[in-house]
């Protein structure tokens, strides 16, 4: 992972972005723990662990696409569609099957995005902007009103605990671990990173660039589909309007984690750090009772500060 983890020089020493993210996370936790009585309560911590799942899953998928030099703006819409599809289908199908279909829908959208980008050479921003609105529309076509799953077993996934940790958090962590192995240890993962650096060089090395770009969007779609299903199960209701602007948090997490939007540079661990930073800030401001609009303002400022600090 040496090449993929961005480094910067701070007072003459090499400090990885990962270390900086870790430091910021620790700082936020310390501040939260010392200034708020509720932060360390088990209710809040469980909440925090659940809240990070959606952003976390989307951020990992987004990272893979960003590494190829692309972007996936459609993930928020996929969250809505996959969630509402799984919830709707659960009325007639076994719940696990309905959920798998929900995730599969996300993969299908990813394959379409990837094919349009890789095979037809369209700009990722434009392609996924189009699918953002298309898929959002499809979610409303499927159901204009929120879908409440009739079988309470639909909520099991979102509420089950493994010891003190929510099951969905464990699933997200597993995605990050597998994702880390994928990017650092598999030929496909290394290829994805190299493509973002110089696609022509990779093509001439005998690697199928199109296949890997499509794979990247499919991974993003799968993550978004999974995030949608998990969210519907956690909240207990699937809304066609959910997930607006989720893609921005996912992109923000990658950027805070040092990923380069032109591709070829980014780290799984630092991206996870970016997710933690975003989720902790949200949680902290909620505990302080700060208005959500101010949260948005602050989030924007933090992104700018992080990028400024990283600048050479």
């Amino acid at each position: 992972m040496t090449a993929a983890s961005p480094r910067l020089v701070l007072r003459g020493r090499d400090v990885t972005v990962e270390a900086i993210s870790a430091a910021v996370v620790v700082l936020l936790v310390v501040v939260a723990a010392t200034t708020s009585d509720t932060f360390l309560t088990s209710v809040n911590l469980t909440n925090l662990l659940k809240q990070m799942v959606t952003t976390g899953l989307l951020a990992f998928g987004m990272l893979v696409v960003i590494l190829t030099g692309g972007i996936d703006l459609s993930v928020g819409s996929v969250v809505a569609f996959s969630g509402i599809l799984a919830a709707g289908l659960s009325a007639g199908l076994p719940i696990p099957v309905a959920m798998v279909v929900g995730v599969a829908a996300g993969i299908a959208f990813g394959l379409v995005n990837g094919t349009l980008v890789a095979r037809f050479g369209l700009a990722p921003f434009v392609v996924t902007l189009a699918s953002l609105t298309t898929i959002r529309g499809l979610a409303f076509v499927y159901s204009e009103v929120p879908v409440t799953p009739s079988d309470p077993a639909f909520l099991t996934l979102g509420s089950a605990m493994i010891g003190p940790v929510p099951l969905i958090t464990v699933i997200m962590a597993a995605v990050f671990v597998a994702g880390g192995v994928f990017l650092s240890r598999t030929p496909a993962g290394r290829s994805v990173i190299a493509i973002g650096g110089n696609a022509e060089t990779v093509r001439l090395a005998g690697i199928d660039v199109r296949k890997h770009v499509i794979l990247a969007y499919a991974i993003s779609g799968a993550c978004a589909g999974l995030a949608g299903v998990v969210l519907a199960s956690r909240v207990g209701i699937a809304q066609p309007s959910v997930g607006v602007a989720f893609e921005l948090d996912a992109i923000a997490a990658c950027v805070i984690g040092g990923a380069s939007l032109s591709g070829g540079r980014g780290s799984v661990r630092a991206t996870f750090g970016g997710v933690l930073v975003l989720v902790l800030i949200n949680n902290l401001l909620n505990l302080y009772g700060v208005q959500s609009f101010w949260q948005q303002v602050l989030k924007g400022l933090i992104i700018i500060v992080v990028i400024l600090v990283r600048r050479k």
Binding site: T2, A3, P187, R190, G197, N198, L204
Partner: protein, 484 residues
Amino acid sequence: MSLVLRGVTKDYAGVGVLHGIDLEGRFGEVLAVVGANGAGKSTLIRILAGAQPMSAGEMRIDDEDVRLRSPHDAHRRGIRTVYQELTLVPGLSVTENLLMGDFPRRRGLIDWPAAHARAAALLESIGFGAIDPRTRAEHLTVARQQMVEIAKALVTEPRVLILDEPSAVLSGRDLDSLFALIRRLRERGVLVIYVSHRLAEVLDLADSIVVIKDGRVIETTEPARTSEDDLIRLMAGRKLEQIYPDRRPEPGEPRLEVSGLTRAGEFHDVSFTLRAGEVVGMFGLVGSGRSELARCVFGAEPAGAGSGAYGSPAEAIAAGLALVTEDRKRTGLVLGMSVRDNIALTTLEGPLIDLAGQRERIGGMIDRLGIRPEGCAPMAVEHLSGGNQQKAVLAKWLLKNPRVLLLDEPTRGVDMATRVEIYRIIDALARDGVAVLLISSDLTEVIGASDRVLVMAHGRIAGELRSDQTSEDEILAHSMGTLI
């Protein structure tokens, strides 16, 4: 009245590139900096230009301590740099590129006739009057673009002018104008820091010469006290008795048979055979279709007609081919990735990559090819010098143990010492039974390093000559299509 560096060091990610450079340039002299690829010349230039901070050491101008924080900082101190890479804005006229915002105005609007006149006067004053300031930069030849770059650096009348391989793309009259200009600048009291591989030029132009090797100044001398051979020996750290290898034995069975290969607008009805154990040179003028042919054989572009080309790079590689492209930055390397990851690109095998094995194989290849600086595997490949970048590209392919090696201009922008190493590598591969196609614009190289030479002209093979029975003149004549 001088620019002095004392104990300048530089490391990238902990890998030392410069280990304490001391040098002194007086205003009003030409200071030549020579060294093999990877010696640290480019890094030194970037430090002088303010593009990279030094890790330690000091820089003094007129006994004043100077710390450059940016290229802009360097400009304010009167230091201008002309890099090998061109930085002109292609869509803008020469005038706009030269004046860069500082236009004469009339009633608030740009006074174009005056602006062009000012640009023309500037070009004329430095002996580049042949360039029309109204031309868009993209329509100039590379040589003329290079001249505009130099003119642009002179707009602000710098005290220090750094020229990085300025003669690489110039020839004939353009080169004469450049040398005349450098001599005039010297008389005006400018310190010209001249970096070049062309030692004859260096001996002709320079007042003092600094030889750099492995990030250190190993010699400071003057043209009168040295010679081309001396300099090469110093740069290489050993004597180069023989540039090109001995003749190889008769080749073996055919490894690549191309017949009637055609790609509309690029090359027509090309047939040739590469045999095991031979090096076949391919010469042709720019635009003769050599690179396109190699890319097509390798499957990077589809063929129109004929046989011998592969359907995709993956198929070609599976059949034992390797292609070192002519533009290593655009098609040979992923610049932001480490040397190791670049070399690994052709040999990614799963499901899980054996990192320890990969490290060892690549480390072995780095040692075998002598890629410098020492311990460069984790460095971003963009920090390597041109010659070492080229070796990294070669390393990537040698790991595949190719049966057929297509080399497109493998020594472009590579210094003499590294060239000799590359010729030795090619020779050793051929003796091991690899069939090598060596595409080159360098006539001496084409004759010296190959067994026979194919000459391309206007997209066709215009002649085939035995290297030991031909001459540069004969090859050149074929390449211009005058002997068909």
